[in-house]
């Protein structure tokens, strides 16, 4: 038995085709990373026709910056794996897996750049020697990283009496196990406690870096750079995770929750200040609207476990209500309420609508509820389409929607005009960005406070086992209705802002599925992708799901296909979402270390 297993493992080892002694492998990975960094200072192509200008010696541009960052990350992790003093803090969870992921980031970003250059300009001839150096260095880094030793799993060989297909499946499973082991990292040891001010400084620094990364992602001016950014950020994040730095940071934020929360909002508020014009603030405000609505949906889906497929209708109710009382020329009411009244009215209307829909439907469970909410979502859109004075009362101006929604004027502050504050010019969208950020803050606080209360526990209990929850004295219907109405109210708040940001409210903005984000399917995807039951999950998921379609418009219809594939892959590899709730993670990965102590799980 043992002899056969060793056979298998040695075969697998040789099957990798990389057999380097450990020292050489480590040196190759670290040195390769450094060489990649150097290669970024060379010219990679001869013409500035390729965006980003990669023709300059001595100064990296465009995609070279991304390669430089991932190369530097590999080198740092590599050096840390040597145990160099002063760098050990980089890898509390072990360096090797981190080096491997950083090397992957380097390799794929470099290869993508090389491919993209030759694809855009027509052929490999357009690569300057510098480009080839970069590719070679990245390849060397990757090979070195792959050859790093790891603890090989003990595997059963395939049963020779099985059918070929069964044997193939078994071998594939074994190979998967080996790959998994190759990229496995151990859980980081608990950190030495720093003085509180130092920990807060660390949080501030990390948030600053996060703001930088996020701003870079939003402001990528061309598609190639954005794809490169996604590759680097994805693998880089995985590398940081494997190094144990993410876990370290999470414990810090758990210890200083309020500081982290305020810090995150300050960092987000700094985003428009980093911009010179309004071009990307538009994106920022739309991301915020989408992510906030996703967070509201997370109360319904993530905490209470009610699958709501028509959630975008509540956003629509808020938007329509605010638009109707905004003094728009298309509104039959002709009233112009101040914004604070409009947004409250929008939220109230959404809440009423939520209760009206929830009261009859929340007696259903599971799939039935999903179908009925899907239906109500469509009913909303079709009703708005028909209230045009011909097939219904003249309220919503039919498919043309309510246009010309005036800008918000809050206590004399005109959101439509640019303001200069302390030397920073804040344009129209930046104004709205800050307004929306305040709304997001409200929603975050509502989520956090309601989740950590009697009512929040009742929601989770309902999600876990409705019958048992009722037997413990919870009025299931009432509690679910509160969740539904609260979710609707929060969406209504965001909707009221959305109406003013976009000037126009039309029924087509509020469909179930569409290529453009704010729709029910994308909202649900943002929640599931980001992490159910957490605060940061839907915010991150929402930001990604808004940004990716927006930046990759050049891909056309392929984009939706890629989105589908990406979603399937992610759900296969990480069903608990990007930022998992600890509970869900334990539920979905039965093999994880079970007897863990939970405190302030996830949220």
């Amino acid at each position: 038995m043992t002899s056969t297993t060793t056979d298998i493992t040695t075969k697998a080892a040789t099957g990798d085709g990389i057999a380097l002694p450990e020292k050489a492998a480590r040196a190759l990975a670290t040195g390769g990373g450094a060489l990649t960094v150097i290669s970024c200072f060379l010219a990679w192509t001869w013409t500035a026709a390729y965006p980003g200008n990669l023709t300059v010696y001595g100064y990296p541009g465009g995609l070279q910056w991304l390669v430089l960052v991932s190369g530097a990350l590999t080198t740092l992790f590599g050096l840390s794996s040597y145990g160099i003093k002063g760098l050990k803090w980089l890898t509390p969870g072990g360096a090797d897996a981190a080096v491997k992921f950083a090397a992957l980031a380097t390799l794929w970003t470099t290869l993508f750049t090389a491919w993209s250059i030759s694809d855009t300009l027509g052929g490999l001839v357009n690569l300057e020697p510098g480009g080839f150096v970069a590719v070679a260095a990245a390849l060397a880094t990757y090979l070195g990283a792959r050859a790093l030793p790891f603890e090989r799993p003990v595997l059963d060989p395939a049963d020779p009496e099985d059918s070929t297909w069964e044997q193939y499946k078994h071998n594939a499973r074994n190979r998967r196990e080996i790959v998994k082991a190759a990229y496995a990292a151990k859980a980081p040891a608990p950190a030495k406690p720093l003085p509180a001010w130092a920990e807060i400084l660390v949080i501030a620094a990390v948030l600053g870096v996060a703001l930088g990364v996020f701003t870079y992602g939003i402001t990528t001016p061309y598609q190639e750079l954005f794809i490169g950014f996604l590759i680097t950020a994805g693998f880089g994040f995985a590398a940081l995770h494997k190094a144990g730095l993410i876990a370290r940071f999470t414990t810090l934020t758990a210890r200083h929750r309020n500081v982290a929360l305020v810090g995150a909002f300050v960092a987000a508020a700094a985003f428009p200040l980093t911009q010179t014009d309004d071009q990307y603030a538009t994106l920022g405000v739309n991301i915020l609207i989408f992510a906030t609505v996703a967070l509201g949906l997370n109360i319904v889906v993530g905490l209470t476990g009610l699958l709501d497929l028509g959630y975008v209708a509540f956003l629509g109710v808020g938007a329509y209500t605010a638009a109707l009382v905004s003094g728009s020329p298309n509104s039959p009411f002709g009233v112009h309420l101040p914004f604070w009244a409009a947004i409250l009215l929008g939220a109230l209307a959404s809440m009423v609508f939520g209760v009206l829909i929830g009261a009859p439907t929340l007696r259903l469970r599971g799939d039935y509820l999903a179908i009925v909410t899907l239906g109500f979502g469509e009913i909303f859109r079709i009703s708005m389409n028909n209230m045009d004075g011909k097939s219904g009362p003249d309220i919503t101006n039919g498919p043309n929607g309510i246009a010309g929604v005036p800008n918000v004027n809050l206590f004399g502050f005109d959101f439509g005009a640019a303001h200069t504050i302390a030397g920073f010019t804040i344009g129209r969208f930046a104004n709205y960005f800050l307004l929306m950020l305040a709304i997001t803050f409200i929603v975050v606080m509502v989520f956090r406070r309601s989740a950590e209360s009697r009512i929040g526990r009742a929601w989770v209990a309902i999600r876990e086992d409705e019958t048992a929850a009722e037997a413990m004295g919870i009025n299931g219907f009432r509690v679910k209705l509160i969740a539904f109405a609260l979710g609707a109210t929060l969406a209504g708040l965001a909707g009221a802002v959305q109406a003013h940001v976009n000037y126009t409210v039309t029924p087509d903005q509020y469909v179930f599925a569409n290529a453009v984000p704010p729709n029910s399917a994308f909202l649900l995807a943002a929640v599931v992708l980001g992490g159910m039951g957490t605060i940061s999950g839907p915010l991150v998921g929402g930001a990604l799901l808004f940004l990716i379609p927006n930046k990759l418009q050049g891909m056309g219809d392929l984009q939706l296909f890629a989105f589908g594939v990406a979603l399937i892959v992610l759900m296969r590899l990480r069903p608990e979402g990007i930022i998992p709730n600890r509970r869900n993670q334990l539920e979905l990965h039965k093999d994880l270390e079970a007897p863990t102590v939970l405190s302030k799980a996830g949220a």
């Binding site: 606080m445 509502v446 406070r449 309601s450 950590e452 209360s453 009697r454 009512i455 929040g456 526990r457 009742a458 989770v460 209990a461 876990e464 086992d465 019958t467 048992a468 929850a469 009722e470 037997a471 413990m472 004295g473 919870i474 009025n475 299931g476 509160i482 609260l486 509970r583 869900n584 334990l586 539920e587 079970a594 007897p595 863990t596 102590v597 939970l598 405190s599 799980a601």
Partner: protein
Amino acid sequence: MTTTTTTTAAPAETVLDARGVTMRFGGLTAVKNVDLTVRSGEIVGLIGPNGAGKTTFFNCLTGLYIPTEGEVRYKGTVLPPKSFKVTSAGIARTFQNIRLFNNMTVLENVLVGRHTRTKEGLWSALLRLPGFHKEEAASREKAMELLEFIGLAHKAEHLARNLPYGEQRKLEIARALASDPGLILLDEPTAGMNPQETRAAEELIFAIRDKGIAVLVIEHDMRFIFNLCDRVACLVQGEKLIEGTAGEVQSDERVVAAYLGEPFEGAPGAEEVAEVEAAEAHAEEDHEAEAPADTPADDTPADDDTPAADSTTSTTTDGEAK
């Protein structure tokens, strides 16, 4: 039976009064005209072979089912037909197959049990009104007290799913106790436990009784039941066969017959074998009809004897259906 003496001395108030409770599922009568009273400070046992309708009776008491006939009173008031209202009235229960909130911590499970005794609503939670922290702290304190009581305080922050089986059963009891009940219904609290754990459960139930909470318990472990209970009622085929002290029930031959079957008079002849086979076939048909009504039970008393017991009473059930 040392326990009975201590309780009968106190003036006993009737906590639970079920009268003529009948539960029909279509043509099948799962529980038929059962009367049962539980007085304060009492531990009452409910026994009966599998499929006798014990759990169905429990569900009738706790509002999970609405009895077709009859009424259930708790301290004189008729119970509302909703399980959460029954709990807030003062009857808490556990489940035959453990139904904890698996992905919540032990402490949170107990806190959910406090739900009906606390009032803080959404607004109070959102605005963190002055009462919020006070009530939350009081709930936590009470929950920790209960965890201390059942001996799980050191695992308060563990996920409920990670507890071993016996502790999960205990936690379910703590969760039920959190609603300050006057009566607690335990559905097979020792199922799947080893003798030591069973003894510990016994101690726990006595301790609960000493808190002034009446206990109604379903169990198959006869030693456990007869040690524990002041009175025992035996359900067979949905009907109450007998109710009395442990000694009375234990010596009643109808109970023995229901569990073990009736002994044959003389040698079993060929005709008797044929009779038994016919009865068995009949019983199987009955079982199929019964299947949706009864929750599946996990431990069966000696296999050979149950069909015989079934067949003796199946005829009466049939008559009822017609």
